[in-house]
């Protein structure tokens, strides 16, 4: 049944439905309402999980890794500096092939300190081996949480997943959300049965041990291949979810919205809702929303973009030292490899909570539609 509720609360319900056995969390704005809601559910007896209140995000991810390594379904959530503090353990979790799911409520990174939304935090973990799925609405965040455990725990994947939702813009917004029934989620997501990683005093094993160059390189090579292969499972699980629950998000990897037009905007997350409003008012622009950012959907994007006249990559991160967003060269790589003649431009917007308005989108389309290779940085004037 659909109800109007806050995004963080909705996601907490989705996590409850996934029945994690261990949750280790440290609150940080704007993800704090997720641990708050989950702690309440545990206290009320609505969720039978071990809640570990740790003293830092480093410990939160460490405890989550430890729990997952004993073979239980484990969860944590964080934002921004919290994710940055987890960084070392984030890489270890992927290398140890632990199917952890973490909700990231996206927020800018210091300095200067800023509590508002952009996607610099997860983009900075793009090479870690975690899968990254970006949500446009709170319903998608709920549905993706449930899909994420099934993806992570699939024997063909066995990798951790970041479910990314924009801080405040989704996490603090009340909107209609359909929270699935426990029975349906149980049918979709059976209990986790670990086979590869299962720390047990009776059967000692070592995880993430020391490796000399040759086995290390071999393992990294395998990991790289496996992260790419996970894309098929992301799609498969999305399709299975769509069949059971009646909700889908593009093809699960990318979403094409009126993408039969000469110009395409490529973007991720909640801003895609605002971009769709602009697309509806024009006849020259469509949207390609990247839902699954890691693994990067090279084939899907090549197909969706190669025949465009102009591709405008909108992103909420800055690759400092490259003077563009992180996805801009990735899209260029896709188009170059596909032999595309499309002109490519880049807009860095929504940084540190700068509001992205319909007017902003209209105006950057007008400014860039005849340009090539321009990188723009939106400064915050709603009419800019």
């Amino acid at each position: 049944m659909k109800t109007v509720m806050e995004g963080s609360n909705a996601v907490a319900h989705a996590i409850r439905l996934c029945k994690p056995e261990v949750m280790a969390m440290f609150p940080i704005t704007p993800s704090t309402h997720i641990p708050e809601n989950l702690a309440q559910m545990v206290a009320d007896g609505d969720l039978d999980a071990k809640l570990i209140t740790v003293e830092s995000e480093f410990s939160a991810m460490s405890a989550t890794v430890g729990a997952s390594a004993t073979g239980v379904r484990a969860f944590t959530a964080t934002s921004s500096q919290g994710l940055a503090l987890m960084h070392e353990v984030v890489y270890a979790a992927a290398g140890m092939r632990l199917p952890i799911v973490t909700t990231i409520v996206n927020r800018a990174l210091s300095a200067p300190i800023n509590i508002w939304n952009d996607q610099q935090d997860t983009i900075s973990e793009r090479d870690s081996g975690w899968l990254q799925i970006y949500c446009e609405t709170n319903q998608e965040a709920v549905d993706t949480m449930i899909q994420a455990y099934k993806i992570a725990e699939d024997k063909r994947v066995l990798l951790p997943v970041f479910v990314c939702m924009d801080g405040f813009i989704l996490s603090h917004t009340y909107e209609p959300v359909d929270i699935p029934e426990q029975k349906d989620v149980d049918e979709f997501l059976p209990p986790y049965k670990p086979e590869h990683a299962f720390l047990d005093p009776d059967k000692p094993m070592t995880m993430g041990p020391f490796a000399y160059p040759k086995p290390y390189a071999a393992m990294r090579k395998e990991l790289s291949k496996d992260v790419m292969k996970a894309k098929a499972v992301v799609k498969e699980v999305h399709d299975e979810f769509a069949k059971k629950f009646g909700r889908s998000y593009g093809n699960g990897i990318i979403e094409e919205y009126k993408n039969d037009r000469p110009i395409a905007i490529v973007a991720m997350g909640s801003v895609c809702g605002t971009i769709k409003e602009v697309v509806d008012k024009r006849d020259d622009v469509g949207l390609v929303r990247v839902r699954c950012y890691r693994p990067f959907p090279k084939e899907e994007l090549a197909k969706a973009l190669k025949d465009k006249e102009n591709v405008i990559v909108f992103e909420k991160n800055v690759a400092l030292g490259l003077n563009s967003g992180a996805m801009y060269p990735e899209i260029k790589d896709v188009l170059y490899s596909a032999g595309s003649k499309a002109r490519v431009n880049n807009v860095i917007g929504g940084i540190g909570g700068i509001d992205v308005t319909k007017e902003n989108v209209e105006n950057f389309i007008e400014r860039l539609k005849d340009k090539e290779g321009v990188v723009e940085f939106l400064g915050g004037d709603p009419n800019e």
């Binding site: 109007v4 917004t173 809702g273």
Partner: protein, 177 residues
């Protein structure tokens, strides 16, 4: 689509008012969205919250810049914030005050003494819920029954009853003008 902006001070419940309105509209089969102005919340500081109501799912994620309706929970805010900023033509501003304030040209302002009503009915100066009664009395955005039932669900028992009485009084008073 209707867009509503609430002005209050931290602790007065502007964010709650925006949420309650969104829930009440959804009860009537409409789509809605409510969100705070994303700031650092401090008691007493000027705050804003927004509600959108439409017949379809609301995809738009920008803040509200051109509200149809504006609700001012605390009249002293009008000295520090331009509460009329961006108001659409034909828009209405509902202010919690006993006395009509000095106004710029051409704005439609309705007043109700929500503080007095809140003190009498709730026993505390909780003006956010009675101001919702006034808002829907002027605009008919949702009907009074949806609003009252939403409030009673959110605040079960005596607290909900008291709030409901305050809502009904502001609703009637502002309708009578």
């Amino acid at each position: 689509m209707k867009e509503i902006r609430f002005h209050g001070r931290g602790g007065q419940g502007a964010v709650t008012a925006a949420e309650v309105l969104a829930v009440a509209a959804f009860k009537e089969g409409k789509y809605s969205q409510a969100f705070p102005f994303f700031g650092v919340e401090r008691r007493g500081a000027p705050v804003m919250a927004f509600t959108r109501i439409d017949d379809e799912f609301i995809r738009l994620r920008e803040q509200v810049y051109k509200p149809n309706y504006i609700v001012v929970l605390d009249p002293t805010l009008m000295e520090v914030v331009n509460v009329f900023e961006g108001m659409r033509e034909g828009g209405v501003v509902v202010v919690n005050t006993a006395q009509m304030p000095d106004l710029p040209e051409g704005v439609d302002v309705r007043i109700v003494d929500a503080t007095k009503i809140a003190l009498e009915e709730i026993g505390k100066p909780f003006v956010n819920t009675p101001m919702l009664g006034a808002l829907i009395g002027v605009t008919g955005l949702v009907n009074i029954d949806s609003l009252v039932s939403t409030i009673k669900e959110r605040y079960p028992g005596e607290v909900g009853e008291k709030n409901a009485r305050a809502i009904k009084r502001t609703y009637e008073e502002i309708k009578e003008g």
